[in-house]
């Protein structure tokens, strides 16, 4: 499972972003996206395109954690959202690992098949390194939702600490290396 996490201000300015891989099930915490050449900008593109859905969902239910809200099948990217009360958006893109059996042509339908296959055959992919952990394979399972929720809550705690600093103004990029290491630690702990 590979993750791309980003914090957007209420005016859609990116405040923070980080890419990481799973550390569960023997994962080494390094992101391996399906299309490494384009991942760098495609991930941002996919995440930002889910903002419309976030803005629609945010007035339908009052929870801070909006759960899994959007899927981009061609890259089999799943997006979960968390809304800080003051309007910042935490978005997490998660991409289950590609199984070696699926062709790498990457058309939409085969990716979806790959995802559902990996969910049913837990632990089947022998060669895939970071796959088939308890939360890894199926991005919409309740366990994954719970893990993402815990991750978001921990990031939120650190975000509040950042915001409370008198030297931080709303909408400023978060540059603190301590914050980054805290988010990495949260990712290692929950995802």
């Amino acid at each position: 499972m590979s993750y791309y996490f980003t914090i957007l201000s209420s005016t859609d300015v990116p405040l923070f972003n980080i890419a990481f891989g799973t550390s569960k099930g023997g994962g080494d915490g390094i992101a391996r996206f399906r299309f490494p050449d384009t991942a760098q900008y495609m991930n941002q593109f996919i995440i930002h395109s889910s903002l419309d859905i976030v803005e629609e969902a945010q007035w339908m239910n009052g929870n801070l954690y909006l759960k899994h809200i959007d899927t981009y099948p061609p890259a089999s990217a799943y997006i979960s959202a968390f809304l800080a009360p003051s309007g910042a958006r935490f978005l997490l893109l998660h991409q289950p690992p590609q199984l070696p059996s699926t062709s790498s042509t990457g058309s939409g339908s085969s990716s979806i098949l790959g995802a559902s296959f990996s969910a049913s055959a837990l632990g089947g992919g022998s060669s895939s390194r970071a796959s088939s952990s308890s939360i890894g394979a199926n991005p919409t399972s309740p366990q994954t939702e719970e893990a993402v929720r815990q991750f978001m809550n921990e990031v939120y705690e650190n975000y509040v600490k950042t915001v409370m600093s008198p030297f931080y103004r709303q909408g400023m990029e978060i540059k603190s290396p301590v914050f980054r290491s805290r988010v990495t630690a949260a990712g290692r702990k929950w995802l």
């Binding site: 972003n17 339908m60 009360p85 003051s86 975000y159």
Partner: protein, 254 residues
């Protein structure tokens, strides 16, 4: 953060490292990036940053009223420099309060989430264990009237009213009989219109804006015989908020 190896396959990892290190760092060998990142941040001698402090630790602590009065007096003096009139002064006080409102909102929710026992913060409006973001105007005003006021002044506000005039359905009023911020302020006669609770109005405006309710908040004197310092905070919601309110009402969202 800065990984020693930078393979071409690990685009995203090297990307995140490059994002965080600045241009001059990039010319350094990778193992020095980490070094610079560690030393570039000034940490107190006990190595504890703000991220090591627990946000709930000071939760029941109160700051001294004397030091607050002193600080607030300084803020008013600061805002009074080079202002053209009372409105300008109130606008400046409002702007000082606004960022505070945005922060308090995040802190308030964090504390409500983490308090396992039902505390003084959770009131009738936010009785459920995981608090909800306010979607409609009334829950938002209850949030301000109850939990926010309790966080700031340790008591709820005194009244919450809706404008009776049919021309201004977007106006709400929050009343405080004796605002703490005005306790030690006596306004000169020629500035009798001034109400330094404009600072609190700014906080309210920040909270409304943070929740996605565009609003203008102003503080007005409205003394009664019993409460000479009675202040009314007039909350005027924007057109977009009223439109959304109608849509949400039709959708049956509370």
């Amino acid at each position: 953060m800065a990984h020693p190896a930078r393979h071409s396959a690990m685009v995203s990892v090297s990307n995140s490292a490059a994002n965080h290190s600045n241009a001059s760092d990039k010319q350094q060998p990778p193992q020095q990036i980490q070094h610079i990142a560690n030393t570039g941040l000034r940490v107190p001698s006990n190595r504890k940053t703000i991220y090591d402090r627990h946000l709930n630790r000071s939760r029941n602590a109160e700051s001294s009223r004397a030091s607050f009065a002193f600080l607030f007096a300084e803020m008013v003096i600061y805002a009074q420099r080079r202002v053209t009139g009372i409105q300008d002064l109130e606008k400046r006080l409002n702007e000082q309060g606004y960022p505070l409102g945005l922060r308090l909102l995040d802190l308030l929710y964090y504390r409500t989430i983490t308090s396992s026992t039902s505390s003084s913060i959770s009131s009738s409006s936010t009785s459920a264990a995981p608090p909800n973001r306010p979607l409609r105007i009334l829950p938002l005003l209850h949030l301000i009237h109850g939990p926010l006021w309790r966080l700031l002044f340790n008591r709820p506000a005194d009244a919450l009213e809706h404008s009776v005039s049919p021309d201004t359905p977007n106006e709400y009023m929050i009343t405080d009989n004796d605002p703490l911020v005005n306790t030690y302020i006596s306004v000169p006669k020629e500035m009798s219109m001034l109400n330094c609770a404009a600072f609190v109005a700014g906080i309210i405006e920040g909270v409304c804006d943070g929740c996605g309710f565009e609003a203008k908040v102003t503080a007005h004197n409205q003394p009664t015989e019993m409460w000479p310092g009675r202040t009314i905070f007039l909350v005027r919601f924007g057109e977009s908020v009223m439109e959304r309110e109608k849509v949400l009402e039709r959708a049956g969202i509370k």
